[in-house]
Subunit: 579 residues, 2 copies
């Protein structure tokens, strides 16, 4: 406060605002989207010290941007984004999203937390300081998600309380353990309380909840939800006081269904989020801008669509200097020619041009040492690592369901040789293994899976919700072993193997989840991985996405963790070979 | 957090919410005003431990309130109220406003701060703990308002920073020194910063500001304004990002003018406030309920009118558990038969009935010792205390303007006897004195005033913006002296004197501003004071209101402070007798 330099800077901004001093940047001849009144105003905007100092005629600045009728919008705010799903490290993620107009992102880093805990989150956030992107944290609430698998780390209520003291923390991330919350689980309530006593927020995650269960969930503190998939579900949640986060991501698309809920009476309580956006989607389609464009195509007023990605998240998250083009707000700005088809022509971060015509125009330093190291720590695989002894002629088989993350539990005849269960590619029954990779426990869970369609080889990866152990699916043990070895060598990643050869791979050395490479290269490698998997016979369009959910023992019906085959409904381990 | 009892309570609320346990109170058969969606819902509401646990069918409770079609609303929130203007101490203020439906009030205690500083504010707020009213503070930003008078206390940036650490502090109160803010005055900016670095709010006060001056003001941090008096002024402030506080108080009435600004596109950024409400208005008309009724009479949708006094202030002030009837929200509730003419039939505070049919049904303990003592400390008046020596035949005269707080500066021929200026009742030129009453300095400012109309006697009081020294206006020195003596004896108050006799008085022993007596008695005494003043010839309807602004040296044109006669435009002292 008493900082003289700071006072000097503020006085300069005030002088610019008063029209007595020259600003740094003047946006002239444009149309300003006013999120407060829903108007489009012909006005000049002057920026000084990274702040919007004034709006109106008569300002001057060192540099003038001639907008010639283009629109000036506030930078977009992603209110619920799992950055890890892009497989990009933060610097490259910033390079990927800035051209889409996103200048602020609220993330909970749930995946990273499961691998590296609070210290990994801190190291990840520390990178944001150098980047033209504002990164806010909602501290992950459910790490680990379950005791049915081995995670790399856990976050106790004390860790959550510590995270609440960080300046970029806005609250507690999506409270996924809704059964725990509703039943009054002490740890869940303590975590929510850690946020609430700090005056911060709690994000909800309440798929399908309604009636008394929803009421109970709300009593514990969540005030938002991004899991509504039907109109009625969304309406109930709005009515009960949740901010409706309308999700339109890579895997979950709820915009078309939920858009009719956005009316004159409800829009202040609605916002857009992406939840997960793949690297490919970010490049080909965009981020929040893509949601806005689609909403407008579906009939939403363009000004309102922008409000749902600017002032509304800013209001919900209490980001007082963001979400509007207004005096005293950060000069995070988007220029576009067309409001009905929002394509950011220029993006400014605190008054600096950071992206133009779809390309980032800032560089990121290639750090020699990644702040978050590899965390692939696998005990040497024994000879019989993938051997499944047969005790009968039948086995429990996980069936994956295209375009859904649930699986089905099947009981099928299995192929047996020398008393051991083998993959049966003709009937699309493959072997699957989850190899614990954080603590070198040597845990290996084995199972059978149907639906991938591989005729030969194996695919594997270290990105596997929620504990992110190594998951491999293959037609033979040798290629599965080769996949694990390659993933170790890469320090984490995704891989396709056939006949002992690596057909395609993507290294994810940042916690086994993210790559330090640019989005272009990551997207290319992902495409090559899909192509390679298809060449092995993979019959689903995105086998690695499906693979990433195979080890998630909180979603029905049958899953595989490093501890073994998990019957989710029974919350118990079951054997592969059935009596 | 780890509090076992607290956990038990929360688990009980959860059990009630789940429908597995009996609540404390069930509101049955009513219509719930849903501020989130703007709907009116037929629904049951169950309360446990002072919290709304559930909405919907199937709940049960120890006690059922049969609403029989009545409406259930959230408790109203007064977003900008100077409690001192009611002349009621906090307990009696609570008894006066709860029957009107106000269950939360945001106050800045600017008057009290000028008398007693931070410690008086703290003592005042400490009384709230026992009362069924939530009292929030916006710390007074401009104490004293000026150096042209002697206040009882001052608040430095360090005091503001201390107040920011109090749990009930929401931010910095109306930043009245807008010229200082705009010009970059370090102390103003430091005070705003003290709020902002604590993550809190800054309320604005920017009468008439527009263009570059408004931009500059906003750069310093304010995000609301309650001073708009014209449509265009309000529209500009909305556009630039200020929450529009539409004021409808005792002295300032802006609702009718500003209501057209409340549209589908702007209403989330609008709220109702009262600023000042006299004790009489509170009793006869109401508080926030009166503003809602008037807005509805003027054509505003009743549901929206309620939103502007509930969820909207809650959103602006970030009061997460208030402003809605919803699970997890405090059971601060209002029952009314008619939405189009809101008359609170019952008012509940945290699930307890606190008012019914216009009457408070809770009692307040009469404390033997007021937490804030009298602060009338006047040095013995010298014999010639009120003598004004004449140096010419003319004098500078303050002319009060009915229904406005500005005054005019007149130069008039004055009546002189024995070389001294005397009151001239035939031409309505009275003598006025401001006697410093905080520090016993002996400061007395003398002047002449026109517009009160007294033919004899004197009126005086200790409630006088902003420093609240003693102000007396009279037809003769003897009665003026008698008035000062009586105000001393009362420990502060208002008084009417004639011929040495006290015709009417009201003691305001709480800082010389407020009475510990109930609203009924205070209102009666106020009426008696007006009647007594009228009997002396007072020609204006509310002479004490006018008197209370006579000593405010920040509003043009001519004022009287304890330091003397102040030419406000020139920011300098002038003599009464002119050369």
């Amino acid at each position: 406060m008493a900082d003289r330099q700071c006072l000097e800077i503020r006085r300069r901004v005030l002088a610019v605002a008063r029209g007595e001093a020259e600003g740094d940047l003047l946006f002239s001849g444009g149309r300003v989207l006013n999120v407060f009144t829903g108007e489009v105003e012909a006005a000049e905007v002057v920026v000084a010290e990274g702040i919007v100092a004034g709006i109106g005629p008569g300002y001057r600045a060192k540099e003038t941007i001639e907008l010639a009728g283009d629109y000036l919008l506030p930078g977009l705010i992603g209110g619920h984004t799992h950055i890890e799903s892009s497989h990009l490290g933060l610097p490259q993620y910033a390079r990927a999203v800035l051209p889409t107009g996103t200048t602020s992102v609220v993330t909970d880093l749930h995946e990273l937390a499961n691998v590296g805990g609070l210290s990994a989150i801190r190291a990840f956030l520390d990178q944001a300081g150098d980047l033209p992107l504002d990164v806010f944290l909602m501290a992950p609430s459910c790490v680990p998600a379950t005791q049915m698998e081995t995670s790399g780390a856990s976050l106790a209520p004390g860790d959550i309380a510590e995270a609440m003291r960080w300046p970029e923390t806005l609250g507690l991330g999506e409270l996924m353990n809704f059964p725990g919350v509703i039943s009054g689980d002490g740890e869940c309530l303590d975590k929510a309380d850690a946020a609430l006593v700090s005056g911060k927020l709690v994000d909800g995650h309440a798929p399908g909840l309604s009636g008394p269960a929803l009421n109970a969930y709300l009593v514990a503190g969540p005030r938002s939800d991004h899991e509504s998939t039907s109109l009625e579900e969304g309406r109930q949640k709005l009515r009960r006081g949740m901010y409706l986060m309308i999700r339109e991501g890579t895997s979950e698309k709820n915009l078309e269904e939920l858009l009719p809920l956005v009316t004159d009476r409800t829009y202040p309580r609605c916002l857009f989020v992406v939840d997960d956006r793949s690297c490919r989607d970010l490049r080909q389609d965009g981020d929040m801008d893509a949601v806005i464009r689609k909403a407008v195509r579906l009939g939403l007023d363009p000004v309102r669509a922008v409000q749902l990605a600017t002032i509304n998240p800013a209001t919900y998250f209490r980001l007082r200097e963001r979400g509007a083009v207004a005096p005293g707000y950060l000069a995070n700005l988007v220029v576009t020619e067309d409001l009905t088809d929002l394509r950011p022509k220029q993006v400014y971060y605190r008054g600096n041009l950071v992206a133009e015509n779809g390309c980032a125009v800032f560089s990121v330093e290639a750090k020699r040492v990644e702040p978050i190291g590899s965390s692939v720590n696998v005990r040497a695989l024994p000879q019989d690592a993938f051997v499944i002894e047969a005790t009968s002629g039948q086995g429990n088989v996980i069936e994956v369901v295209p375009h859904q993350i649930i699986t089905r539990k099947l009981k099928l005849d299995v192929r047996i040789r020398d008393g051991r269960i083998e993959a049966d590619t003709e009937r699309d029954i493959l072997k699957a293994a989850v190899v614990e990779r954080h603590r070198g426990t040597g845990n290996i869970g084995l199972g059978l899976v149907r639906g991938f369609g591989l005729k030969q080889g194996a695919i594997g990866g270290t990105f596997a919700h929620d504990s992110h152990n190594i998951v491999v699916v293959g037609a033979n043990d040798r290629d599965m072993r080769r996949a694990v070895e390659e993933l170790e060598r890469l320090g984490g990643g995704l891989v396709v193997v056939e006949g002992g050869r690596i057909l395609a791979s993507l290294g994810l050395p940042i916690a086994g989840l993210m790559s330090p490479e640019p989005a272009e290269e990551v997207a290319e490698k992902l495409a090559a991985l899909d192509t390679a998997a298809a060449s092995l016979g993979a019959s689903i369009p995105e086998p690695f996405a499906v693979l990433s959910f195979l080890a998630l023992p909180v979603i029905p019906e049958l899953r595989l963790s490093d501890k073994g085959l998990v019957d989710v409904s029974a919350v118990s381990l079951v054997s592969v070979s059935t009596p």
